[in-house]
Each structure stands twice: as structure tokens, then as C-alpha cells.
């Protein structure tokens, strides 16, 4: 009797009619009723970096204000590069455009080169992760090639493509592809045998296996690779554009250096840093969105 009662009780507890667990929303009441707490939180996030930036600007101003200083102080940067800072999208002719346009031109190159690297890298990485022989053959070659600095590829790329733009794209591609390949391969190698068994019992063909099991299962690894890759391609594009010319943030810096416009260079550096940061966060956010739920099993 007691056993029976216990069983029934357990049935009640495990009964499907029970609504799912309620997820606590701790932030909501506090933000609605306690504006001071919210203000404190914002302040604690914004104030420390603001103070540090201010301190850097002050030290910089103090260090570069003497008449013989080789670099311009922040006030001079502000006054001389005012146009560049406040009007990123002016357009006064083919070589006289705002930094926003130049950044977009560079981003376009990165998008093409990195996009290709992502697709090819995931495919090769999947092959290496899946096949022991492909790994044995390709891995040593890749381990050596990936240490070649991006710009070392440029002369070869210029010779092969006989044009600067495809050469720059190739440099981006070859820079970004290695972390994508290596991380994808590790991710594919770490796919649990259980998932492979499920795929085998369902007789998934290789294409179905790739899209339905491999890519989602390895997605956290793939996105780690993509995130490293986009960072590297942003590093490489600036250097490559300095050498290949054309519209782009890298060439702008080179041009500014040749015409001794140091404030412009400093503004461009800030742009590059901010955009690189946003690219990193963008890929991380996409990864977090795509791989939600995959970590827990």
C-alpha cells in the first residue's frame, strides 16, 4: 500500500501536466523599481574605462605638448583631423573620401576573403577531422604553412594574380583559413561516438551527416576558429593594403605617412581598433546565437 502510494506520488511529481520550470528573472524588478541600482551598474561598467582613457589622453597631451615633440598631442589631432573624426562618410572624389568609406572598402575585402576562408576552412577541417589519412597527410603541411606571416604571401600572390585586389583577398584568405581548419578538425574529431551511432543507424549519407550532425556538433569549435580568423584577417588587411594601394584604411595610413599627416594616422588607428573589436564581437555573438543549446547535453 505504501509502495503504491509512493509510486502514485512519484507519478504526480513526474506527470507531464506539470508546467516547465519557471526561469527566474532577477533583473526585471530591480530595473523597474530601483533606478539608482541601475545607474550604479552602468557607472561601474562605464566609469573605469572612461577614467583610464582620460588619463591616457592627459599623459599623452603632457608628453607631446613641448615644441620639439615628434608626435602630435590629442588637441592637435582633434583640430587637424576634425573633418575625419566627425564626417566619416564625406566623398570629394576618388581618393578623397571619409574614413567610413575606406573602412567599408577594407571590410568588403575582409568579407570576401574571410568568407571564402570560412567555407573552405570548414570543409577542409571536416575532412581532416573525419579521415585519419587526410589528417596524417595534411596536418604537417598545414602546421608549417600556418606559421608563415600573412605579408610573406603577398609577393607570391601579386605574381600569381597580376593584380593587387585579388592578391589582397588571397592574403586575407590564407591568413584566416588556418585557425578555421584546425579548430574545425578538432571539433569534428571530438564529435561524440553516440552522435555517429545515431547517424549510422539512420543511414545518413555523408552530406546529411555533414549538415545535420557534424556542423552543429562542431559549431562551438568552428566559431572559435572563425573568431580567431576574423581577428587575423583584420590584422592582415591593413598591412596588405599599405602595399597594394587603392581605397582602404591601410592605404590611407600609408598615404598619410607619406604626406606627414600624423593626426590622420592616429584617427585611423582608433577606427581600426574599434572596427576590429566590433568584428570580434559580431562573430562571437553569431556563434553564441548559433551554438545555443549545444554545450549542454
Amino acid at each position: 500500500m505504501t509502495v503504491h502510494a509512493l509510486k502514485e506520488h512519484a507519478a504526480e511529481m513526474a506527470a507531464p501536466s506539470r508546467p516547465s520550470e519557471v526561469v527566474a528573472l532577477p533583473a526585471k524588478p530591480s530595473s523597474r523599481f530601483d533606478a539608482a541600482a541601475l545607474a550604479r551598474r552602468v557607472a561601474s561598467a562605464v566609469l573605469p574605462p572612461a577614467i583610464v582613457v582620460l588619463a591616457i589622453l592627459l599623459v599623452w597631451e603632457a608628453a607631446c605638448s613641448s615644441p620639439g615633440a615628434s608626435l602630435p598631442p590629442p588637441t592637435q589631432v582633434w583640430s587637424e583631423a576634425y573633418d575625419l573624426i566627425v564626417h566619416p562618410f564625406f566623398n570629394f572624389g576618388p581618393q578623397d573620401v571619409g574614413l567610413g568609406w575606406r573602412i567599408l572598402a577594407s571590410l568588403q575585402r575582409v568579407a570576401v576573403g574571410f568568407g571564402l576562408a570560412a567555407v573552405v576552412g570548414v570543409a577542409i577541417g571536416a575532412l581532416i577531422g573525419q579521415s585519419v589519412w587526410a589528417m596524417r597527410g595534411l596536418d604537417p603541411v598545414f602546421q608549417i604553412l600556418r606559421t608563415v606571416p600573412p605579408l610573406a604571401w603577398l609577393p607570391l600572390a601579386l605574381a600569381a594574380f597580376r593584380d593587387s585586389n585579388p592578391a589582397a583577398l588571397f592574403v586575407i584568405f590564407i591568413t584566416a583559413i588556418w585557425p578555421v581548419i584546425i579548430n574545425t578538425a578538432v571539433g569534428v574529431r571530438n564529435i561524440p561516438q553516440d552522435y555517429r551511432n545515431v547517424a549510422q543507424i539512420l543511414r545518413l549519407n555523408p552530406v546529411e551527416f555533414f549538415f545535420k550532425i557534424m556542423v552543429p556538433a562542431a559549431a562551438p569549435y568552428i566559431f572559435t576558429g572563425l573568431r580567431i580568423g576574423i581577428g587575423l584577417s583584420w590584422l592582415a588587411i591593413v598591412a596588405a593594403e599599405m602595399l597594394t594601394g587603392g581605397v582602404g584604411i591601410g592605404f590611407f595610413i600609408w598615404d598619410a605617412w607619406n604626406s606627414s599627416r600624423l593626426p590622420d594616422i592616429i584617427v585611423a588607428l582608433v577606427y581600426i581598433g574599434v572596427v576590429g573589436f566590433m568584428l570580434d564581437r559580431l562573430v562571437a555573438a553569431v556563434g553564441a546565437f548559433v551554438t545555443r543549446g549545444t554545450s549542454a547535453s
Binding site: 507531464p16 501536466s17 551511432n197 545515431v198 551554438t291
Partner: protein
């Protein structure tokens, strides 16, 4: 009458680093359609290997697995497996996990609406239709295993293979799932083979219990018939003479004649 599934003189050995380990030796067994057979033995005796051989996930070293007189040596949906750790894909919802199987097996023979109905019917069968939009991480271990069973059943398998399906669950949840499996077996009449190391579970669920000797080179030590009427009620059986006799027979086999020796390896 020829058996539905026939294991014909199966040997299995693994070779690693030049040393050959015999896992199974001379396994011969016939299983009839609609029968529920448990395979019980101490851990390491190769019972999971035996299930993988039937599933086709591992290849036999000698002998053959015959299903309806045809040899099977690769995995397929007609021998669906319920895995010990459920093996649901964590990035898919409950519905999508079952759909993965249904879309693959019935993608060309059934319409979209028919497939949807079939998925929901199978989720209903394990009482999980209410959670169809949840991801595996959001449901309990017992629920995951229910979904695993629904996924396997949705393939309309000729034989359902259960690999210690309730091993990782607490006792109460396990009892619920055992009842659910008995109910499904009664309703659908599937042929089922279950690996277990739980004596009560084996006696409660099975028509026959296959007892394995200890490895290496494990064989079938004894096959016990469980002549209990269905439907079976666990509370009534607790004092049933036949039940107790079967239970005692399995216990004696496992703990007297083939006691697990830790130092055997």
C-alpha cells in the same frame, strides 16, 4: 519455425596493439517475432558488444546475424537502438530529434502532414508530446530516455534494441519507464532485446533471459524462460512464486556460478 532474428555462431575479438582480445565466443541464439529478450551479465562481459553486433555498429569476427534469414552487417533503422545515455542531439528540440529519424526513414513515403502525425503519435506513446518544443537540456533524464525511445520507435523498427536504457536513472523513474516499455511492447508487439544488469528488471520485462558468462571470451551461459502472464504488475509479482523462482535462478547464475572476479583481467 525459423527464428525471426538468428545469431549464428558469433565470435568477436578486438585487436589492439598486436594483442587480440576475445570478447564473445560461439554466441548462438534465436529470437522470435514479438519476443522480449533480456541479456544480463556482469559488466565487461561483452553484452553491449553483442547488442552493437546486432545493431551492426560493430562487425562480427566470425558467424553472422540473420534477420528474417538475411544477413545484416551494417546499421539500419530496422534495428533501432535506445542508447544508455539517450544520445539525443542537444541542438535539436524533442520534436526535431524525432523528426530527424522520421524525415530520413519516411521522407519519401509519407507526406509532411503524415510525418507530423507520426512524430506526435510516437511522442504521445511515451507521454512526451507536451515537451515537443523543448531541448534535451531542458528536460529530465527520464524524459530524455522517453524521447530516445520515441525516436527509436518512430523508425518502425523490426527489432528494438535497448542498451541498458534505464541504467542512469533513479529507481522511481526507472520503474515508470519499465512500465512504459511494457505498455509499448503490449500495444505494438515489437521484438525487443534489452541489455541490463538489473535482475528485477530482466525478470519483470522479459519472456526470456539470456545470461552471459564472464569475459574474456564470454558465451551464453544459460537461457531462462520467464513464464509469467502479461500484463505484469510489479507490485503483485513481488510475492509471485514463479517470479521469485526466476529471480533466484538469475541471481544464482550471476553470484554463485559466474561470480564477477575483479582481478580477472
Amino acid at each position: 519455425m525459423k527464428p525471426y532474428l538468428k545469431l549464428d555462431h558469433i565470435d568477436k575479438s578486438f585487436t589492439r596493439g598486436g594483442t587480440r582480445t576475445e570478447v564473445l565466443k560461439g554466441i548462438t541464439l534465436g529470437i522470435d517475432q514479438g519476443e522480449f529478450v533480456s541479456i544480463i551479465g556482469h559488466s565487461g562481459c561483452g553484452k553491449s558488444t553483442l547488442l552493437n553486433l546486432i545493431a551492426g555498429l560493430t562487425k562480427v569476427s566470425a558467424g553472422a546475424v540473420l534477420l528474417e534469414d538475411k544477413e545484416v552487417d551494417s546499421p539500419g533503422p530496422e534495428r533501432a537502438v535506445v542508447f544508455q545515455n539517450h544520445s539525443l542531439l542537444p541542438w535539436l528540440t524533442v520534436y526535431e530529434n524525432v523528426n530527424l529519424a522520421v524525415a530520413k526513414v519516411f521522407g519519401s513515403t509519407r507526406t509532411r502532414a503524415e510525418r507530423h502525425d507520426w512524430i506526435m503519435r510516437n511522442l504521445d506513446l511515451v507521454q512526451m508530446a507536451h515537451a515537443s518544443d523543448k531541448r534535451p537540456a531542458e528536460i529530465s533524464g527520464g524524459m530524455k530516455q522517453r524521447v530516445g525511445i520515441a525516436r527509436a520507435l518512430s523508425m518502425e523498427p523490426k527489432i528494438l534494441l535497448l542498451d541498458e536504457p534505464f541504467g542512469a536513472l533513479d529507481a522511481l523513474t526507472r520503474a515508470h519507464l519499465q512500465d512504459a516499455v511494457m505498455d509499448i511492447h503490449a500495444r505494438l508487439g515489437n521484438t525487443m532485446i534489452m541489455i541490463t544488469h538489473d535482475v528485477d528488471e530482466a525478470v519483470l520485462l522479459s519472456d526470456r533471459i539470456v545470461m552471459m558468462t564472464n569475459g574474456p571470451a564470454a558465451r551464453i551461459g544459460e537461457v531462462l524462460d520467464v513464464p509469467l502472464d502479461r500484463p505484469r504488475k510489479r507490485v503483485e509479482l513481488a510475492s509471485d512464486r514463479t517470479y521469485l523462482r526466476c529471480r533466484e535462478a538469475v541471481l544464482k547464475f550471476l553470484y554463485e556460478r559466474h561470480r564477477f572476479v575483479e582481478a580477472a583481467e
